[in-house]
């Protein structure tokens, strides 16, 4: 147990001690080696790197150096990432065997290990994190502490204003003040639908009930999305604190966080955070001598995407099959165990403490008219800088893809970007300058979604893309309602047929009719949005569908069944590499002369394309 005074002392002393983390001119002889321990870098051996650093430091008996695990820095494409503070030198793609060199050169001799520095988009070598184009257009609010603090150390969280917002709320604000502040900030649900957070809080506060609950939805399931995971891994206490503030505001003393079991690191760190907060008396009864009591529990999801739907999530917490409930009643009135329940997603909570501390006015000054603050995106697909980015609302997609993301690799062309995952739609070249906010994205047929942002180059077939997403929703449908259970299967079958060259006249109309009615008649958000990728790709790439159906041709060359490989006589030098590597022997030709492919025999494996040194083999 720690008294309020003790916590304030920790904040002061620790903050001084950790000033070098955020201040390059900090007056200290100490150095902190920060090693990313997010899931991405962890899977590329960052724990081994940390271990090596510590071992070497001990062996060499070096003083004033500390090695710290942190959450995600964001630039996952360049992981494992190591940053040395206070000078803020950024080492990319570090291997465990590089530790010795970093210690000897950098720590002991003050020399920078040039070969481990990161290259920017223009190929210039960058020493500091802030100098990277990747970071320049970002604004970190939700991710503020990610990559700065050790997520498993509550003192470090406290040092950077941790539990200060809770303190402010408990001693200086009424529950209504808190709700007003959140309302005025303009914060909207970051889970995807964008419902005004303040409104949700106020509904739950107004609902009558002897018991209320605060729930955090951490069942992040969109393919390619890892925003919430990174927040939980990098700054779990900020979610604990925000849930407590929410509990105070709506009158709840109990919270649940529903995390997918596939996030073991997040689960572990969140549990540590809960334990530490309990240990410090921050979670528990009569916190800091006030009337307010709050405790928190983790519930693990068992791998069903539909449990990200709030009512299915509640069913799952209650121990039943994860299936959505009819709305209304909304969870604000009848949620967990039938009691008024506030459900927000991780990223939404991650904004709360900052809003409380810096004020609604500050927060609402960021972003656009209707969408305030920032949004975290997991940038993936055919883009150079794959990773986690946080941008102010209103930034254009072009800025995210080409500036922050560093553009499309391998000299290919941008074709489309998908936001909103399997519930979203694609955004084409012509809409790249649309400012990112809830309304604009909806207007162009997509949605904000939870933050997955997949970039596709011109090698991607859009029919195949729709098929991929439908394969996902088909697989993840809970099976409760007919339109989603059978409808997604039928959509998938039609798409499969088209990509296999068996598309029929009228298939597009069938897809449209089916999509329309699945959306109208499904029980929950999963079914209601499942046809979006189909509708959106038909809207923007109808010609690709027609090409598949009528001409049995896939322009992007992704649909193998439609591939017709041929050798360009202009480019072929007759080297014979393709012929030697063809597994079915369907390529013939004399050495030095143009070769040819027997398309009847060809199994479209594509080996010849990858083997040809002259790029002479292509899809007709």
């Amino acid at each position: 147990m720690k008294t309020l005074e003790e916590i304030n002392n920790i904040r002061e002393t620790k903050r001084r001690e950790l000033d070098l983390r955020v201040n390059t001119s900090a007056d200290t002889r100490e150095k902190h080696i920060l090693v990313c321990h997010g899931t991405g870098c962890t899977s590329s051996k960052s724990p081994k790197i940390l271990e090596n650093f510590r071992k070497i430091i001990e062996e060499k008996n070096i003083e004033n150096v500390r090695v710290i695990q942190t959450g995600c820095f964001g630039l996952c494409a360049k992981g494992p990432i190591v940053i040395i503070r206070p000078e803020d030198v950024f080492y990319a793609m570090v291997k465990p065997e590089d530790c010795e060199e970093i210690i000897e050169k950098h720590i002991q001799n003050g020399e920078i290990v040039e070969r481990l520095l990161c290259k920017d988009i223009d190929n210039s070598v960058v020493k500091k994190l802030d100098e990277l184009t990747f970071y320049k257009k970002q604004k970190r609010i939700a991710l503020k502490n990610c990559g700065v603090i050790d997520p498993e150390n509550i003192d470090e969280y406290i040092a950077f204003d941790g539990y200060k917002a809770l303190q402010k709320v408990l001693f200086e604000m009424s529950p209504d003040d808190v709700i007003n502040e959140v309302s005025n900030s303009g914060l909207r649900g970051r889970g995807g639908a964008g419902f005004p957070t303040g409104k949700k809080w106020s509904f739950t506060k107004m609902a009558e009930g002897d018991q209320k609950y605060v729930v955090c939805n951490a069942d992040e399931g969109d393919p390619g999305a890892f925003m919430d995971r990174s927040i939980l891994e990098g700054d779990p206490h900020c979610v604990v604190e925000a849930m407590m503030i929410a509990g105070y505001a709506i009158g709840a003393n109990k919270g649940y966080i529903y995390v997918r079991a596939e996030y073991p690191i997040a689960v572990k760190r969140f549990q540590i955070a809960i334990d530490q907060a309990r240990d410090y008396g921050i979670l528990g009864d009569n916190i800091w001598g006030t009337e307010f009591s709050f405790d928190l529990e983790i519930r693990l999801g068992a791998g069903a995407f539909v449990c990200g739907e709030e009512t299915a999530l509640l069913e799952s917490i209650e121990g039943r099959r994860g299936q959505p409930r009819l709305k209304p009643p909304f969870p604000a009135n009848a949620g967990l165990f039938g009691k008024p329940t506030l459900i927000n997603n991780v990223e939404t909570y991650a904004n709360i403490t900052k809003i409380i501390l810096n004020g609604a006015e500050w927060y609402s000054s960021i972003g656009t008219e209707t969408s305030k603050g920032t949004k975290v995106f997991a940038l993936g697909g055919n883009v150079n800088n794959i990773g986690l980015v946080e941008v102010p609302m209103g930034v254009t997609l072009r800025e995210i893809v080409f500036d922050i993301g560093g553009g499309i690799p391998n000299g290919r062309k941008f074709k489309a970007a998908q936001t909103g995952g399997p519930s979203g739609g694609c955004i084409t070249e012509e809409n790249l300058d649309t400012p990112i906010d809830y309304e604009s994205l909806k207007a162009i047929g997509s949605m904000m979604g939870s933050g997955g942002l997949i970039v596709m180059d011109d090698s991607k077939c859009m029919v195949n893309l729709a098929k991929f997403y439908l394969g996902f929703t088909y697989d993840e449908s809970c099976g409760k309602c007919t339109p989603c259970r059978v409808g997604t299967k039928r959509l998938l079958e039609i798409l499969e047929r088209i990509t296999e060259g068996k598309g029929e006249e009228g298939d597009i109309e069938k897809l449209e009719k089916l999509s329309r009615n699945i959306k109208n008649a499904s029980v929950c958000g999963l079914g209601q949005t499942a046809p979006n990728p189909v509708e959106s790709t038909i809207r923007f790439f109808r010609h690709e569908y027609e090409d598949h159906i009528k001409n049995k041709h896939c322009e992007a060359g992704e649909c193998k069944a439609l591939m017709k490989l041929f050798i360009d006589p202009e480019k072929c030098k007759g080297c014979g590499l393709c012929k030697r590597n063809c597994p079915v022997g369907c390529i013939s030709g004399e050495p030095g002369k143009t070769h040819s492919i027997d398309t009847e025999k060809c199994i479209k494996c594509g080996t010849c394309i990858t083997k040809c040194p002259f790029h002479a083999i292509a899809n007709k």
Binding site: L326, S477, G479, C481, T482, K489, N517, V523
Partner: protein, 581 residues
């Protein structure tokens, strides 16, 4: 009262009503499939979607509560298209062999297909072949026909508190399954058949026994005797389009003769035997310090439930066989002897409102005469109707006729066996007079009548109080048993029927649609007809049945005596809920 507008028409309806109920009130019907009032109110199938002004998307009428000022549209082109697509999708994943389906003509899905003028399946596609479970003696489960409405799941779990079936897997691979996909015979299924009554299609049906009965009827060496349970006569007419609650005993007997049965007897006589034996057993337990409360044993679904879930209460179960088993034993012993027929040649067919009777017939210790089953075949009310239709007998035009002598005359007490509380009432009529030694004029025990799931009463027998309780539906049974186990209740006599409402609502009775179940008091009408039979009977107490008196005198000796025990009583076994071997 709530005021709303449906298709521009004003509707006034009680608060708490659904849009569906409000619409039906002004004769606007909305198609439903998964909806089963009070049982399955989930809004899953999406057939009943409507538009409510101000709400995104469409909403299910069956479970959305009507609200003041609501503006509802039930048949816009968009709604009709959505319903048609939903129906198409269900049909696309349904085994559409309608001609050879038992529910051909009574299938709710088939009716919808007709109403929507389906002449093709627009979104046809893959269907996963499923194995049919026909291993149990009572129920056949064919998941190829299942449309995942889950009415059966709700009936099993919510009404009966069993949960033998539930939804397994997810999405397109969802299926209604048992634990580890075992056969129903190897899980905690009680064979009550409420799932069959709930099923809108042919995914669940009784194990057909008509073929073996036809075979017996064709066999010249067999003396084929049929008996019919009390609840059958008040429901059979429904299969021929007659009013619910019509007593068709006379036509039924005529039809059975036309089908070729050698003798047509009444299970009610068996019920009178049950009262004599059970009444005697109760009085013995009461007076000699036997295990109390005594619980009735005429409902085989209930008996199996107890064996599966409360084996420790087996001593409380009356050792009496159920009426048709008793009657079968009497026919193969007393009657065979008296008529000079080789009992081995007698083929005893029971027409029952119940599918658990099919299982009961096969139980151990159901052979009153050494080596011979008391009953050789059990057919349900539905199966009898099918046999009559197969023989092209114009049922509604038949003349009435009476059951065969010498077993034909039964009491009013026996008739009410077919409804919840009936066995208790019949027993009390006898017990009261036996215990007090005087004659009672008022024979109606109103406290144990009616639709309530649990009904208790204290009966004063000249100073001696007897506490009784009646429960129907296994969920209610569970409540009563828990009360007994925890010592919260001190009943002496308990009647339990597996099916909610008793045998009139048995798993072998005519299947009514979801709409009929929501709008008609089916139980009340069928039970009402039984009470009318009782009222009109000249003899209304089992112990006054002259045939029984005669048989006890001539053959059985004392009630509860050695011979009676041999023929009319049975034993029970504790059963494992799941047979994994």
């Amino acid at each position: 009262m709530i005021h709303l507008k449906i298709n521009d028409r004003d509707v006034e309806i009680e608060e708490g009503s659904t849009i569906l109920e409000a619409a039906r009130k002004i004769n606007i019907d909305i198609p439903t499939l998964c909806f089963l009032k009070d049982i399955n109110e989930v809004g899953d199938c999406r057939m009943c979607v409507v538009e409510v002004e101000g709400r995104r998307g469409m909403t299910p009428a069956c479970i959305t509560k009507a609200q003041e000022g609501m503006i509802v549209k039930t048949a816009t082109p968009a709604i009709l298209e959505a319903r048609e697509v939903v129906l198409d999708l269900i049909l696309s994943n349904h085994d559409r062999k309608c001609l050879t389906c038992i529910r051909n003509g009574s299938c709710e899905l088939q009716k919808l297909a007709q109403e929507f003028n389906k002449d093709e399946i627009e979104f046809d596609g893959e269907r996963i072949e499923k194995t049919i479970d026909d291993l149990s003696p009572s129920i056949v489960r064919d998941n190829n026909k299942c449309i995942l409405c889950r009415r059966c799941v709700a009936a099993c779990k919510k009404v009966q508190g069993i949960g033998a079936i539930d939804c397994a897997n997810r999405g397109f691979n969802s299926s209604v399954s048992t634990y580890k996909e075992l056969s129903l015979k190897d899980v905690n299924c009680t064979f009550c058949g409420q799932c069959i009554e709930a099923c809108p299609v042919g995914a669940l049906k009784e194990k057909d026994s008509t073929k073996e009965v036809w075979r017996a009827l064709r066999d010249e060496n067999k003396y084929v005797v049929v008996q019919t349970a009390p609840a059958v006569r008040v429901a059979l007419g429904e299969e021929f389009g007659m009013e619910i609650g019509s007593n068709v005993a006379g036509k039924m007997v005529t039809a059975l003769r036309l089908l070729g049965f050698d003798k047509v007897f009444d299970t009610n006589t068996g019920a009178d035997f049950t009262i004599i034996e059970e009444g005697t057993e109760f009085i013995n337990r009461l007076t000699t310090g036997g295990t109390l409360p005594m619980i009735t044993s005429c409902s085989p679904g209930w008996v199996r439930y107890l064996e599966l879930n409360y084996p420790e209460l087996i001593p409380n179960l009356s050792t009496c066989k159920s009426p048709h088993q008793m009657f079968g034993a009497i026919i193969k012993s007393y009657y065979a002897e008296k008529m000079g027929i080789d009992p081995a040649k007698i083929y005893m067919v029971s027409v029952m409102p119940c599918i658990a009777k099919k299982f009961e017939r096969t139980r151990d210790d159901m052979q009153g005469v050494e080596g011979l089953d008391d009953v050789d075949a059990v057919i349900t009310t539905r199966e009898l109707a099918r046999m009559i239709k197969q023989a092209h007998i114009e049922f509604t035009g038949l003349e009435d006729s009476g059951f065969d002598d010498p077993m034909g005359e039964a009491t009013g007490a026996a008739a009410i066996f077919g409804t919840t509380g009936g066995v208790m009432e019949a027993a009390l009529r006898t017990v009261a007079e036996k215990v007090t030694g005087r004659t009672f004029d008022n024979l109606n025990y109103e406290d144990v009548r009616g639709e309530k799931g649990i009904k208790s009463a204290t009966i004063n027998l000249d100073g001696k109080e007897v506490k009784v309780v009646v429960a129907s539906g296994l969920k209610n049974a569970e409540t009563v048993l828990e009360e007994i186990k925890s010592g919260k209740a001190d009943y002496q006599f308990v009647e339990i029927m597996a099916c909610p409402g008793g045998c009139v609502m048995g798993g072998g009775q005519p299947i009514r649609t979801s709409k009929e179940r929501a709008t008609i008091d089916i139980r009340g009408k069928r039970a009402g007809a039984l009470y009318t039979i009782d009222e009109k009977s000249t003899i209304r107490k089992s112990h006054e049945n002259p045939i029984l008196k005669k048989i006890y005198e001539e053959y059985l000796g004392e009630a509860g005596g050695h011979k009676a025990h041999e023929l009319l009583h049975t034993s029970y076994v504790a059963r494992d809920k799941y047979n994994l071997e």
